[in-house]
């Protein structure tokens, strides 16, 4: 017999594909890179309110400005989420992202504190999603900590039985402190399409 706690514990598996654009101004002009990223995500709903999620992604960014080096990007992140009501949740997590070129490898380790709001419509068949997160810790090898770092996004999710399909536009911004009259700026824009399948009983994380 399934206990109530076990009934709430379930896994959601998701796959995503994203179009990503990376813009970097190291102080000598804007460099632009863009390309696809694919990945997967697993979410374990550990109780009615708490969930743990792990996400991996891999992509390839092509330089769109002269002189830029193509780069691969890989990402691994984990976060815990807690519901605060039916339409609001908070999260805390860590991620590691690596940009690799033929010449160098840049590692980004970040901690994030986020909030996500979901407004159901069409009787719950769809949800308007808005999310944002502060990145209080961003450690990049060879760079100082950015003085401003956050991510923000919005999108729509469609519920389809035990599955869901969502599309989200998101933006990450990093403003590094100025040094020697130059300031490094970076931003990552992404349009992500994500499909998810629930593998158990319970509520959406």
């Amino acid at each position: 017999m399934t206990t109530p706690a076990a009934a709430q514990r379930r896994i959601e598996a998701a796959a995503f594909v994203a179009a990503i654009e990376l813009r970097v101004d190291p102080g000598s002009g804007v460099e632009r890179f863009s390309g696809p990223m694919i990945g997967g995500e697993a979410t374990l709903q550990v109780s009615g309110r708490w969930a743990l999620a792990v996400r991996v992604g891999d992509g390839s960014l092509t330089a769109r400005t002269p002189g830029g080096l193509n780069r691969d990007v890989g990402e691994l992140s984990a976060e815990g989420r807690v519901r605060a009501g039916t339409e609001l949740s908070f999260s805390a997590g860590a991620s590691r992202r690596v940009y690799s070129t033929e010449l160098a490898r840049q590692r980004w380790n970040t901690l994030q504190l986020g909030v996500e709001g979901r407004l159901p419509f069409l009787g719950g068949a769809m949800q308007a999603v808005a999310r944002g997160a502060l990145l209080p810790v961003v450690a990049v090898n060879g760079l100082d900590h950015p003085k401003t770092a956050y991510t923000i996004g919005t999108g729509i999710e469609y519920q389809l039985g035990q599955g869901a399909i969502g599309i989200v536009y998101s933006l990450e911004r990093y403003n590094f402190p100025a040094k020697a009259m130059t300031q490094r700026l970076e931003q990552v824009s992404a349009l992500t399409v994500r499909g998810a399948l629930r593998l158990g009983r319970g509520r959406t994380p």
């Binding site: 179009a19 654009e21 813009r23 970097v24 101004d25 804007v30 863009s34 407004l119 419509f121 069409l122 009787g123 769809m126 308007a128 999603v129 808005a130 923000i152 996004g153 919005t154 999108g155 729509i156 599309i167 989200v168 536009y169 998101s170 933006l171 911004r173 403003n175 700026l185 970076e186 931003q187 990552v188 824009s189 992404a190 349009l191």
Partner: protein, 152 residues
């Protein structure tokens, strides 16, 4: 009034008694479910418009993020992608509005209201049953009224 068997005299006496029903208090039945206790069984125009506004909000937010929250020095971030999402949101909102106006019934809410009404009815039936049992157990108590006796 009484009559003596020995003498042909009559006399009257007046005695007071207290009559009381000894019964457990009866329970009140639950009041009828008010509008605030029942879910809307049909989609209102306001709800349909609210759905459209949510979708338009997503569309507007995507454009604002790409056009105004990006760095001015770096330029807008994938404006075509934000427009694509905005378009999807607007179309979704439009479809939602039309669908909600053509399909106003909310069967889940109808079922939930029926469940709430049945629950109230069942609880009221139980209350009435308990009250009837208490009424059946009512005891008539007859006791001399204290402090009141026959007139001298």
């Amino acid at each position: 009034m009484g009559q003596s068997r020995l003498r042909s005299t009559r006399d009257t006496a007046r005695t007071y008694f207290d009559l009381a029903y000894d019964r457990e208090p009866l329970e009140d039945t639950l009041p009828a479910l008010g509008p605030g206790q029942l879910l809307s069984e049909q989609v209102t125009d306001a709800a349909a418009r609210a759905d459209l506004l949510k979708a338009l909000g997503v569309a507007a937010a995507a454009v604002v993020i790409s056009d105004h929250l990006t760095s001015r020095d770096l330029g807008r971030g994938m404006p075509s992608a934000s427009r694509a999402l905005a378009g999807v949101a607007v179309v979704t909102g439009g479809i939602s509005l039309v669908y909600r106006r053509r399909h106003r019934d909310l069967p889940e809410n109808v079922a939930e209201n029926a469940r709430r009404r049945a629950e109230r009815l069942a609880r009221n039936d139980a209350i009435l049953r308990r009250n009837q049992e208490r009424i059946a157990r009512t005891v008539l108590v007859i006791a001399p009224a204290a402090g009141i006796g026959s007139p001298p």
